[in-house]
C-alpha cells in the first residue's frame, strides 16, 4: 500500500512543474525542479553550425556529381566550392568545440561503430580530401580524370555526411534528440538537399539550375514532413520543439522554407527570385539545425522531459496504481 501523502517529494506546493511555467503540467516529482540530465557541453555556434555546414557540404557534393554527369559545369563548380567551404568550416568548428583541441588526433586512435562521433570522424577524414581534390582539379584544370573520380567519391560519401549527424544527436540521452531518431535523419537529409540546392540557385544561372529547383522543392517537402512527423510521434517531448527559443527557430524555419519553396516554383525565368528563394532555403535549413539543437538543450534543462515519459514507461502495464 502506498500513502495518501503527495508523492512529489519536493514538487512545488501548487504541484506544477517548474522551469518555464508556460504550460500547466500534470504533476510529477523532481528534486527541486533540478535537471536530471546534464545539458550538452557543445556550443550552439559550433555544433549547430557544424550540423548545417556538414549538410551543405554533403548534399552539395551530390549536386556537383550530378552537374558533372549532365554537363552543367557551373552547377558542378559552385557545388564543389560549397562542399569544400562547408566541410572546412565544419572541421574547424568541431575541433574548436573540443575541450582539448590539440587532442583532436585522439579521435583517430580507434574506430568504434558504437560511437557515431567516431564513425563521423572517419567519414569526414575520407570525405574531405576527396571534396578538396575534386575542387582543386576543377579550378586548376590538372588531373581532370582523377579530379572527377574524387568528386564522384565525395558524392558517394556525401549523403552519409549529411545524415550521420542525426545519428550523432540521437545516440544520446537527450530526450528531444533520442526520441526523434527515426525522423531526424530525414529532416537533416531534406534540409541538406534544400540548402545545397538553395546555394546552387544563388550561384548558377537559370539555364543550369533546373535540377537544383527540383531538389530544393523535394528537400523542403521532406524537411517539413519529417519535422511535423517527428513532433507528432514524440508526445509531450515535442514541447521542447515548440516552446522558447527552439520553438521560435523551428517556426521561422518552416516559414522560410515555405516561402523559399514558393519562390523556387516561380523562379524558372526570374534570376532575382531564384537568388532570393535560394537564400530563404539556406536560412530555413540553418534555422532547423539551430532549432533542433536548442530543443535538445531545452529538453535536458527541464526534468519533466526526463521524468514524465520514463514514468509512463516504468508504469506501463502491468501497473499497480500507487
Amino acid at each position: 500500500m502506498n500513502t495518501p501523502y503527495p508523492a512529489a517529494g519536493n514538487g512545488r506546493a501548487d504541484g506544477r512543474a517548474g522551469g518555464h511555467g508556460v504550460v500547466a503540467e500534470k504533476e510529477f516529482a523532481s528534486y527541486y525542479d533540478r535537471p536530471i540530465l546534464k545539458p550538452p557541453t557543445w556550443k550552439a555556434s559550433n555544433i549547430a553550425g557544424y550540423l548545417y555546414l556538414g549538410g551543405l557540404a554533403g548534399a552539395s557534393s551530390v549536386l556537383a556529381a550530378g552537374g558533372e554527369l549532365t554537363g552543367r559545369p557551373r552547377l558542378a563548380r559552385a557545388s564543389r566550392v560549397a562542399a569544400v567551404a562547408g566541410v572546412s568550416l565544419s572541421l574547424a568548428a568541431l575541433i574548436e568545440d573540443l575541450g582539448r583541441p590539440e587532442r583532436f588526433v585522439n579521435m583517430l586512435r580507434t574506430f568504434k561503430p558504437t560511437s557515431p562521433m567516431s564513425v563521423g570522424t572517419w567519414l569526414l577524414s575520407a570525405y574531405t580530401p576527396l571534396a578538396v581534390a575534386g575542387l582543386a582539379s576543377d579550378l586548376t584544370g590538372r588531373c581532370p580524370a582523377l579530379g572527377r573520380a574524387a568528386g564522384y567519391g565525395a558524392a558517394l560519401l556525401g549523403p552519409a555526411v549529411t545524415t550521420y549527424t542525426a545519428a550523432l544527436l540521437s545516440d544520446t540521452a537527450v530526450p528531444a534528440w533520442h526520441e526523434g531518431h527515426r525522423e531526424l535523419p530525414f529532416l537533416f537529409a531534406g534540409s541538406a538537399a534544400a540548402t545545397a540546392a538553395g546555394f546552387a540557385l544563388i550561384a548558377t544561372p537559370l539555364a543550369e539550375n533546373g535540377p537544383a529547383r527540383r531538389a530544393a522543392l523535394a528537400g523542403t517537402a521532406v524537411e517539413l514532413v519529417a519535422g511535423r512527423l517527428m513532433r507528432r510521434r514524440m508526445g509531450m517531448i515535442a514541447d521542447a520543439y515548440e516552446l522558447g527559443s527552439a520553438g521560435a527557430l523551428m517556426r521561422a524555419a518552416e516559414t522560410l522554407a515555405v516561402a523559399g519553396a514558393a519562390g523556387t516554383l516561380l523562379s524558372r525565368r526570374r534570376r532575382a527570385l531564384a537568388v532570393a528563394s535560394g537564400a530563404a532555403l539556406m536560412a530555413a535549413s540553418a534555422f532547423v539545425r539551430f532549432g533542433v539543437f536548442a530543443a535538445g538543450v531545452a529538453s535536458t534543462e527541464d526534468p519533466r522531459y526526463t521524468v514524465v515519459p520514463q514514468r509512463a514507461r516504468a508504469s506501463a502495464p502491468p501497473h499497480h496504481p500507487g
Binding site: A160, A167, A218
Partner: protein, 289 residues
C-alpha cells in the same frame, strides 16, 4: 508500488567477461542504503580529498534544505541530496501510533552508477572511457579530448566537463585504491555504512535482506534502484535503497542506455542517406529539355 523490491537477490552480469578480461576479480561496486544516511557529507569530503578534486564554482547557498552541493559534477563525484517531506517514516500501525512523527528528512548520497550497459563508454570516440577488471567505468584523463559526447549520453547526468581543464571527469570508484585492495574513499569514510563497498553479488543479497527488514518494520516505501539486470542499463554497479520514487531524489525513473537503439538509429540514417542520393538523382533525371 511500481518499483520492484527484489524479493530474491538477482545477479548482475559479470561485465568484465563481456569486455574480454579472461581473468578478473569479482565485479565490485557500491550499495548505498539511504535509509541509514545521516547527511553528514563525509563521503563528499573524503572523495574530494582522496581524488584531489577542485571546488565547484560558485560557492553559494541554494536554499535546498542542507544541500549546497547541488549535483554531481566534473569535480563532485558524491552528492548528498536532502528531501524534506511531510510524511511519517513508517506507516502507522494503529491507534496511538503516529508512525514516528509526521516529518521525514530523506538523505541520499548519489554517485556514478557504473552501468552494466554504459552509454558513456559506448559513445566515447577516443576510447578514453574504459571498463576496468572490476567492472567499473573509468575515464583515462591522458586520452580524453573533451568532446563531451559522454556527457550527453549519460542517462543519469553524471559526467561533466571541467571547464578550465577542458576534459571530462567522473567517479572512478577509486580505481587507484581498488588495485591495492583498499575500500573507496567515500565508503571508507561513511560513519553509518550507508555506503557499502564489495562484490556486487554480496551487496545484492544484503540489500534484498535490508528491504525485507524495512518492510517488516512498516517502512513500506523502501525499494531498490539500479539492482535489476532486466532494466534499461542491465543494472548498475552502484545501486541504491530508496525511500521514495527515484525522481524525488533527482534520479531518472526508467533510464535507458541510448545505444540499445543504435541499430535502429543507423538504419534510419542509412535510409535517409539513400533517400537523399535517390532524390537528387531524380532531380537530374527529370529534366525536360
Amino acid at each position: 508500488m511500481s518499483e520492484r523490491t527484489a524479493e530474491a537477490a538477482t545477479r548482475l552480469p559479470q561485465v568484465q567477461e563481456e569486455t574480454g578480461y579472461a581473468d578478473h576479480p569479482p565485479r565490485m561496486g557500491f550499495f548505498t542504503d539511504t535509509s541509514v544516511c545521516i547527511g553528514c557529507k563525509a563521503c563528499e569530503v573524503a572523495c574530494k580529498e582522496w581524488n584531489q578534486l577542485p571546488a565547484d564554482d560558485p560557492l553559494e547557498f541554494t536554499g535546498m534544505s542542507f544541500d549546497n552541493t547541488g549535483q554531481l559534477s566534473a569535480s563532485t563525484w558524491r552528492h548528498v541530496a536532502f528531501i524534506e517531506q511531510r510524511k511519517p517514516m513508517r506507516a502507522p500501525t494503529g491507534a496511538g501510533d503516529d508512525g514516528a512523527g509526521d516529518l521525514r528528512l530523506l538523505m541520499a548520497s548519489d554517485v556514478c552508477k557504473h552501468c552494466t550497459d554504459a552509454a558513456c563508454l559506448d559513445v566515447c570516440p577516443t576510447g578514453s572511457l574504459l571498463r576496468t577488471e572490476f567492472g567499473t567505468v573509468v575515464v583515462q584523463e591522458d586520452v580524453c579530448n573533451g568532446c563531451g559526447y559522454c556527457v550527453s549520453a549519460c542517462p543519469y547526468g553524471v559526467l561533466d566537463k571541467r571547464e578550465r581543464d577542458g576534459r571530462v571527469w567522473k567517479c572512478t570508484l577509486c580505481y587507484d585504491r581498488l588495485v591495492d585492495d583498499l575500500t573507496p574513499a567515500c565508503a571508507k569514510a561513511c560513519p553509518t555504512e550507508s555506503i557499502q563497498y564489495g562484490p556486487l553479488d554480496e551487496l545484492l543479497e544484503r540489500a534484498a535482506a535490508r528491504v525485507r527488514d524495512l518492510h517488516e518494520d512498516g517502512v513500506t516505501d523502501a525499494r531498490l534502484y539500479g539492482h535489476d539486470p532486466a532494466d534499461g542499463v542491465r543494472g548498475n554497479g552502484a545501486f541504491f535503497l530508496l525511500l521514495d520514487r527515484p525522481e524525488v531524489y533527482g534520479l531518472p525513473p526508467a533510464p535507458m542506455d541510448t545505444t540499445r537503439d543504435l541499430p535502429s538509429i543507423w538504419r534510419h540514417a542509412a535510409a535517409a542517406a539513400l533517400t537523399l542520393a535517390a532524390g537528387v538523382a531524380a532531380a537530374f533525371a527529370l529534366e525536360r529539355r
